[in-house]
């Protein structure tokens, strides 16, 4: 039988996990803050949420969007706090990568060394022993350790649950919130009861982790903080003074990392975006770029109320065009193409058979809705204009002036988004002029919006007026590949 002691790799993993888990929790709370409402199913219909973490109320006589609903949380509970979703996402995703790699290494080492016995029970007697432990704790006493093991029965079962059930549960419910995963595997979303149910479950997992941490720290305190920290730092009980000091030093170091991450994010978000984005993007493009959307939601799944983000162009020109059914609207398509052209809405409708798709829309803020979009497949337009070989990206320019139109957004300027050419030929990449069987509503991007279903919603530019094929996007705006990327520090490629 393996001696269940505290090898160095186990101790290192423990403290690395403390760092990663606390980063995940704080950045996760930042992500919740951007849409602090939890729902069930696939819809985010206003008023149907089962929990709310905001005191804001929205008007009923004016259009509001989910940017208005965004909350600003304290830096003490969220990373970095103060309405910084872009930063929160970067920290969350880079930590996820680290946590998963750490977890894989941990599983391998546990099973390779036989240390898995410290979590997985030797026999069914663990259950009556756990019951006895519960009774002992309820008697305000400490139960005995299992013979030859460093844990009692209920601790063993709890650790097994956290390491083999709760942690994978969080990863799996997290994956269910990736547009690329959902688009490629709609059954996976159904498995969790819907996109919003997955989000709610992920939140409940957060609460479970918080509960575990609270109980764990209490237990360590009751059983002997210096002794147990000596085990988890030195590997044996001894030098208790040093163990106490070392434990405080490690906690302080972790706190320092948190403070540094927070300050760096608040003071220099662009450098965080570049540094963390570099790591995350490589993982993202390898794991998720190959996932092409193949969604076919049934009619019954359509959301009764599809949420809105972004407010329509507040200009007289736009309003006059709208009241004339956009007869005077034109789409300029140009840049690195053989055949630049200008198209009207009627021209677009004439570009082959209309394609419709019923799909799940994922906003970066976390809400989702199911809608039916109708329009011309983007690849049809691509074939028409014939991009030159050096065209690697497509820039969608819109009629929205963010400073004028969107008071809740951080920043000003014309809204634009850049898409990679490789996404342009996806079967469900669409230029949509219809929604749910009627002309595209103004609040959803009339007369034309982009649909690219394996990406997060902000990429799907609305109120499009111009499409440019380009070789490099760094000279546009602030060079990050889109208005949100420039101003809110999101990544340009958002399969998650």
């Amino acid at each position: 039988m393996v001696v269940l002691d505290y090898p160095a790799w186990l101790r290192i993993e423990h403290w690395v996990n403390v760092l990663f888990l606390t980063l995940l929790i704080r950045s996760g709370i930042e992500i919740v803050a951007t849409h602090p409402k939890l729902y069930r199913g696939n819809d985010s219909r206003p008023g149907t949420e089962w929990a709310r973490f905001t005191r804001k109320t929205m008007p009923t006589d004016k259009l509001y969007d989910t940017l208005d609903e965004e909350e600003s949380y304290s830096s003490l509970v969220s990373l970095p706090g103060h309405k910084n979703l872009g930063m929160g996402r970067h920290w969350h995703f880079v930590t996820v990568i680290g946590w998963i790699l750490t977890g894989i290494a941990y599983y391998i080492l546990l099973f390779a060394t036989g240390q898995w016995h410290r979590y997985l029970p030797y026999s069914w007697s663990i259950f009556p022993e756990t019951w006895n432990d519960i009774l002992t704790y309820l008697s305000f006493k400490l139960p005995p350790l299992l013979p030859g093991e460093p844990l009692d029965a209920i601790q063993k079962l709890t650790y097994a649950g956290v390491i083999f059930l709760l942690a994978p549960f969080q990863i799996l419910t997290g994956a269910a919130q990736s547009p690329a995963v959902e688009a490629r595997f709609p059954w996976y979303v159904r498995l969790w009861g819907g996109r919003q149910s997955a989000r709610s479950l992920h939140f409940l997992g957060l609460l479970a982790f918080l509960g575990f941490i609270a109980v764990h720290l209490t237990m360590v305190g009751l059983w002997g903080w210096p002794q147990l920290n000596a085990l988890m730092i030195f590997g044996h009980v001894g030098h208790l003074g040093w163990a106490l000091a070392a434990s405080l030093a490690i906690v302080a170091a972790i706190v320092v990392v948190h403070i540094a991450a927070t300050v760096w994010s608040l003071k220099s978000p662009r450098s965080v975006q570049r540094a963390l984005g570099f790591v995350i993007n490589h993982g993202r493009l390898v794991a998720l770029r190959p996932m092409v959307s193949r969604q076919r939601y049934p009619q019954s799944a359509l959301s009764p109320e599809h949420r809105v983000n972004g407010k329509p162009p507040d200009s007289d020109d736009y309003k006059v065009m709208a009241v004339h059914h956009f007869v005077d609207w034109t789409l300029h398509v140009g840049g690195l193409v053989e055949y630049p052209m200008t198209l009207t809405l009627a021209d677009l409708r004439a570009l082959g058979d209309k394609q419709t798709q019923r799909v799940l829309h994922n906003c970066v803020q976390g809400w989702s809705s199911v809608g039916e979009w109708g329009g011309v497949p983007f690849r049809n337009l691509v074939e028409l204009v014939k991009p030159l070989p050096q065209a690697r990206h497509i820039c969608f320019l819109t009629m929205q002036d963010t400073g004028r139109d969107e008071p809740s957004a951080e920043g000003a300027g014309q809204f634009y988004e850049v898409l990679d050419m490789s996404l342009a030929r996806h079967p469900q990449c669409l230029l949509a002029y219809e929604m749910n069987g009627a002309p595209l509503p103004i609040e959803h991007g009339a007369p034309l919006r982009l649909r690219i279903e394996n990406q997060v919603g902000f990429k799907m530019a609305k109120w499009i007026s111009q499409i440019e094929f380009i070789s490099d996007y760094h000279a546009i705006g602030q060079g990050m590949g889109g208005w949100r990327e420039d101003n809110v520090y999101y990544d340009k490629d958002v399969e998650v």
Binding site: E49, W50, R52, R55, T57, L76, F140
Partner: protein
């Protein structure tokens, strides 16, 4: 739109102590301390059936334990008659309260049910603690007898009910048949 209160912290700025205080206030505001302290007002749930179900289960659990003690599960072979009367009363009021919470004929009766449930809970904790600390007439053997799991569990249930009731009273939760007016 309601916004989080962002109070300006007025500090004296004379002297180094003043400057130090100003720095602390600035850091606190930057870290969002005011928002953190009032965080409970940011939390609201819309699960009235779950809330009432949990409340009823907990309350009936408290009653069931007293019933168990009444019909022979008491850890001592005999106990004074007044204790039996107290157990019976507690069970009756708890069942009545639970019934009122779920039948929900009138909002006032539902609220009364919750209040009665809290009264039962507080009374049960008080009696249990009294029996272990100052002692109850005719029950000297209960003094300092804390290592009794069922008793600890009963106290935990009672505390849980009071916390749940408080969450309903403060608006964090709604209890059946109340509903949230979240229309936006």
């Amino acid at each position: 739109m309601a916004e989080a209160p962002g109070r300006e912290v007025a500090v004296a700025t004379d002297g180094r102590a003043g400057a130090g205080l100003a720095a602390i206030a600035q850091t606190a505001r930057w870290a969002g301390i005011a928002q953190l302290i009032s965080f409970y007002r940011y939390i609201a749930f819309n699960v009235p059936r779950v809330t009432t179900t949990v409340g009823i289960v907990v309350l009936l659990g408290i009653a069931a334990i007293r019933l168990y003690w009444l019909v022979g599960g008491f850890p001592l072979p005999v106990y004074p008659a007044y204790l039996g009367g107290y157990f019976g009363l507690l069970v009756a009021v708890a069942v009545l309260a639970a019934g009122s919470m779920v039948i929900g004929l009138k909002p006032r009766l539902v609220r009364l049910g919750w209040v009665l449930g809290s009264v039962v809970s507080v009374a049960s904790i008080a009696m249990y603690v009294a029996s272990r600390t100052v002692g109850l007439p005719g029950l000297p053997r209960l003094l300092r007898w804390w290592d009794y799991p069922l008793g600890t569990f009963a106290m935990a249930l009672a505390a849980l009910f009071v916390a749940l009731h408080l969450s309903v009273v403060t608006g964090m939760n709604v209890a059946y048949p109340q509903r949230r007016d979240w229309h936006d």
